[in-house]
Symmetry: C2
Subunit: 212 residues, 2 copies
């Protein structure tokens, strides 16, 4: 397998965590998002959206981090990222999607660049935009985690799974932008539990070959 990513891409970071948790090796190839390498014609054949990550297996190019993680889960079931019970699976997927749909897309590099270049916004306004969507998202997620008996050491029970895979890269981003994370004690407790694991540590942006 070969993973096309970028050290600071949270979507690529998710896939790196997932590969590590499953104990899978993937050769890494770096796509420099700030240099626009994601829009090179060769890369667009691997990901017509011009986004990272892409995971290559044989002659197949997989895109969209959550689709890739679900694929890894289906093809390498142990250790499991999702519980067995359908209701519990829906809970874990909802937590993951609350990050992957409702926080991250709004704070993605291409969006911040659009706010700056096309909409001529000041950096302070863009930073507040960023923090606003983190607050909106984490407020709901903290509530979902803090009020459920299914929350354990991790987002669901005592083993890391799909929701944790999305949570850690989102916190990395939030910390970069100096978001106040004190209002989210459950999220931060789970984050600390994840960060104690080598699978998460080794997936961190600063550990990647293209880190600057």
């Amino acid at each position: 397998m070969k993973l096309y990513g970028f050290w600071r891409s949270s979507a690529a970071y998710r896939v790196r965590i997932a590969l590590n948790l499953k104990g899978l090796d993937a050769e890494q190839s770096f796509v420099h998002l700030r240099k626009g390498e994601q829009r090179a014609p060769d890369f667009l054949t691997l990901n017509p959206q011009g986004l990272v990550p892409s995971l290559i297996e044989g002659d197949r190019a997989f895109t969209q981090s959550l689709a890739i993680v679900e694929y890894l889960e289906e093809t390498h079931p142990a250790p499991a990222f999702l519980p067995k019970d359908a209701m519990a699976r829906a809970r874990v997927r909802a937590l993951a999607l609350a990050i992957a749909c409702d926080i991250h897309p709004l704070n993605n590099l291409r969006v911040l660049v659009y706010l700056k270049r096309e909409m001529k916004q000041e950096q302070a306004t863009i930073d507040e935009w960023y923090r606003h969507w983190v607050r909106e998202g984490f407020t709901g997620i903290e509530q979902m985690l803090a009020t459920s008996k299914e929350t354990g050491k991790f987002c669901h029970g005592d083993a890391p799974g799909l929701a944790d895979i999305c949570l850690v890269p989102q916190i990395y981003n939030a910390q970069r932008l100096a978001c106040d994370l004190a209002p989210y004690p459950t999220i931060m407790r789970i984050h600390a539990a994840c960060q104690a694991l080598a699978a998460f540590q080794n997936a961190a942006p600063e550990q990647q070959g293209d880190a600057e």
Copy 2:
């Protein structure tokens, strides 16, 4: 089952299509997003994110449209929304997520309201923002669909599935904002195939009890 939604919410629209395709009945309850009913304390107990949809079954409240659709797929497997093969499932999920993560969240009502109220943007600038993300997203998705032999009458093969469930509400939104859809002939051909089906027709915003 009871579905909390709003006629114009594309996330609720997805779940309505899914319920119809599976032949499932759900009582509908309406949450008026423009009146802020999604932030009422009672509703926040059903969805701490303050978003629609929420699907209630027994004492359980499910959130996040894609998590709900996957739950319906797991608990009511026929007709299937996802193919059997893991690689093909990843393709369908990637198409769905390309919409659900990379187009829709940027054009959601709460985001447009933020651009207007907090960032004081003109309506023309907001409309161009909207159309920009539709173009970005549909350009990649058209390519993914047009270049794959797995695309059939629908996004994957000849039966509607998860990707089609996401595509149709996104086109409804794009048409409302007068986006030019001529550059996406494959998307529009699939859209027409979906719209020929009662499951999609009956899920349309204008068919709902709270339509204005």
